[in-house]
Amino acid sequence: MNRKMVLSLTGRIILLEAALLAVPLLISLIYGDHGTVPFLITIAIALASGGALTLLVKPKNQTIYAKEGFLVTALAWLILSAIGALPFVLSKEIPSYIDAFFETVSGFTTTGASILTDVEAMCHSMLFWRSFTHWMGGMGVLVLMVAIVPSLSGQTIHVLRAEMPGPTMGKLVPKLKDTARILYLLYMALTALEFVMLLLGGMPLFDSAIHALGTAGTGGFGIKGDSIGSYSPYLQWVIAVFMMLFGVNFNMYYLLVIRQFKPVFKSEEFWTYVIVVVLSSAVITVNILPLYANMAEAARHAFFQVNTIVSTTGFSTVDFDQWPQVSRTLLVLLMFMGGCAGSTAGGLKVSRLVLLYKTIRRELRHLLHPRSVGVVRFEGKRVDNSVLVSVSTYFALYMALFAVFFIIVSFQPGYDFTSNFTAVASCFNNIGPGLNLVGPTQSFAGYTPLIKVFLSFAMLFGRLEIYPLLISLSPSTWLKK
């Protein structure tokens, strides 16, 4: 294993974080809050550690393979969160380091689960940093590094594959660096578009920025106790639609930009996603109609909540914990689906579910006609058996890991089955709110520090799609030379 290269790449990531921390520093200078010194200290720490790693470790052999890619990704995300938590602690906004770590992991993994009981008491720069981590984590910090650091070799594909969600990674253009750049440009353009539309709807400047960043990364950190509830219906619609848009595979936007409309209209994943969203919204609208004054209001809340869950964002306009059982159950189930592959959303991903469904159908037919030869087609192409196997394996692993986390969290005294189940589901799928004690109006503050650490890992496992962390946590990876 090329340890030196792993360390060197990690060092560069830390340096990148130092640069990114300059943005909230700027915000704190503008608003004159007490975030300036903590951010300065954190930047100094990041510069020192990252600089030391990049300058002292000089890898002779620059080649990396899949294993190193996984390790770099896992290490980078852990260290990013560990350093990113420092400003919260140093500014005493979140006194406990564990809490701050949870909050930062929740930020980078675009979960949006918070331990804060009173969000509105936070200062501007800290609020901004929280939402900024969403934005970075959504498209991926390593993707950003590939896009802007000039001298990275072509084999960084292993790193990107480990970081980007979805069963397979498709390049848009021949060069990885150009692909990463295009993705970030599209991402920035969409974020800016939402920002402008929120501003036009009368949302204050700072609020618009926070919510645009939070929606783009499908994160869900808000700045108000009731999340989006107190904003106008127009703003709620804007955010709901953008949540849905950020749950779509970004390749679609690229295809639209280069004026290739056919594959978009034919995309199975995209249409499955749209149909699921529309159908669930319709069912929930009917179900919650008695609670609201008119159809329009019920539809708005239903559509918003469905999108917040499906895109794994985690904003809310109402306390959906108060909704009837059917709606709550449907929302919890949608948590596991998540958005499309290649989007910023978490969860299992629509494409995996479609492939699973097709595998099941093929297996059933195979039982009835043992000699039949079944070919699974997806997006107009034949899917290789190895992909199907890996999707099934991923699903099994995903469920197993979910069970492990669920059992660990159930040790928490005083929490009921629903709270624990939805807390794990919500963290593992990078959503944010759950039901009952972790509902939209509640927070994760009640969990013991140890369980918070486990939930943080659940979030990281969910964001990085299990394998990178699992591989780096297995001792054999590190013991072998």
Binding site: A66, G154, I157, P174, D178
Partner: protein
């Protein structure tokens, strides 16, 4: 540049590697998904699985914006069709590998014209030409020509008993009366541009430049004997063997071919009546000895198996055959057998990569840089480039010793009015010159890039 490579076998992959190194945007097309998967992991290219001779696949690969389409699948017909379609769909330049001898006769020109091909490459023919030239040189020496043969660079591996061992480059110049310059040295896996105090060792592979007229003198003073090969034994009736045999027979050499396939032997005899073909297993040492291996001037191993070629070449060397050449396709095998002491190895895919890289650079130079020719030397670890100097620049009129060159760059030769100057510190570059530069680590696009 946007380049599409159709067919990702041995040659395709070598091409992809060198194109990616050059910074081109490469799309790789192959119909085997395992190959495609492997490529995605290894190189920074876009990979597509599909038939290269299919319009939709080509369009998906972005053929209308491609500056260059290279078709190197195993089938000549597929290559031709793919190139034809690519050209019709808007590709600027198309290159097809056409290696069937039947297409490579007089009809090739017509084919190229009708299909709109910019170039037809035939790896076997190129390899044969390379071999043919090298058989005319002393043993263990490889040569590259620049500037219409006005300038030569030879690669020699120093043996234990070579007179050059242990001397520094400064002493060398005074010791030998031939004017030459050691431009580049490969020691182990490292490529060095040496300075005057550099001492040569046995085992070093050195790149020398000299005037063509002084070459023979240089060979003599280095005690490299140069005997023209009169009797050549070829092992394996491959396409390369056919082309080589044809060229050798044309120049009056006796050629003996050994192949296990009776049918192949018969075909060779049919096409080349002057050739003596032997039907038998060429890996049997007895057979080779019986057929007079020890009396041969050269032994060329051209079977399809790298291992066979390497082993039988070692055997031929042990029987004191003066010139022994092995065809080795796999790069790792080539460097391994070179380390074990095999002096002369040809690799058709490296030759192709060189040709196409040069072509791509030439295409690009019409878009800005001024490279005339480009050669990869020292197993692709260094490059020799020829630039034309037009008008005055920051380099002209200054003695070379006053130029602040980057590290690992050397001006190996200046060609002025078709005469070669092996430069010393006092020489100057003038407008209208051609300059040959050796670079071991930088990729140069223009002559001014050599300055710090």
């Amino acid at each position: 540049m946007n380049i599409i490579v159709i067919g990702c076998g041995k040659i395709g992959e070598t091409l992809i590697r060198s194109f990616v190194k050059e910074g081109h945007d490469v799309v790789a097309l192959d119909n085997r998904d395992t190959v495609i998967q492997d490529l995605t992991n290894k190189y920074d290219v876009m990979c597509l699985c599909g038939n290269g001779a299919d319009c939709l696949t080509l369009q998906e690969a972005g053929v209308e914006k491609a500056e260059m389409v290279v078709a190197v699948t195993g089938s000549d017909e597929v290559n031709m069709l793919a190139c034809f379609l690519a050209r019709r769909l808007g590709a600027a330049h198309t290159i097809a590998r056409i290696r069937n001898p039947e297409y490579n006769d007089r009809s090739l020109g017509f084919l190229k014209e009708q299909l709109g091909l910019s170039m037809a490459i035939n790896p076997e023919l190129l390899a044969a030409q390379d071999l043919f030239h090298s058989l005319k040189l002393p043993a263990g020496v490889k040569v590259e020509y620049f500037s219409r043969r006005n300038f030569e660079m030879i690669e020699v591996k120093l043996k234990e008993d070579s007179v050059l061992c242990g001397t520094s480059l400064m002493e060398l110049r005074s010791k030998h009366d031939a004017k030459f310059l050691v431009c580049v040295v490969q020691r182990g896996n490292e490529v060095i541009i040496p300075d005057g105090s550099f001492r040569l060792q046995a085992g070093d592979k050195i790149g020398l430049t000299a005037k063509p007229t002084e070459m023979q003198k240089l060979f003599k003073s280095m005690k490299l004997t140069n005997k023209l090969a009169k009797d050549v034994m070829i092992l394996g009736g491959s396409k390369t063997a056919f082309y080589l045999a044809k060229m050798l027979i044309g120049s009056g050499t006796n050629v003996k071919l050994i192949d296990v396939d009776r049918h192949v032997c018969r075909n060779f005899c049919d096409a080349l009546p002057a050739l003596s073909a032997v039907h038998g297993d060429g890996t049997q040492q007895d057979l080779l000895l019986e057929e007079g291996l020890t009396d041969q001037d050269a032994f060329v191993a051209l079977t399809g198996m790298d291992e066979e070629n390497i082993l039988m070449s070692f055997f031929a060397s042990s029987q004191n055959v003066p010139k022994v050449v092995a065809k080795v396709n796999r790069e790792e095998m080539a460097s391994l057998s070179e380390r074990l002491g095999l002096e002369r190895i040809i690799s058709p895919k490296e030759i192709i990569a060189n040709v196409l890289l040069r072509y791509a650079r030439a295409l690009q130079s019409s878009m800005g840089s001024s490279i005339e020719t480009l050669y990869q030397v020292m197993d692709g670890k260094a490059e020799a480039l020829e630039f034309a100097v037009n008008g005055s620049s920051s380099l002209t009129g200054i003695p070379l010793k006053d130029l602040q060159l980057k590290k690992n760059i050397l001006i190996a030769g200046i060609i002025r009015d078709r005469k070669t100057i092996i430069p010393t510190g006092t020489d100057q570059i003038l407008s209208g010159d051609k300059v040959v530069v050796i670079s071991a680590s930088h990729r140069l696009a223009a002559l001014a890039d050599i300055l710090k």
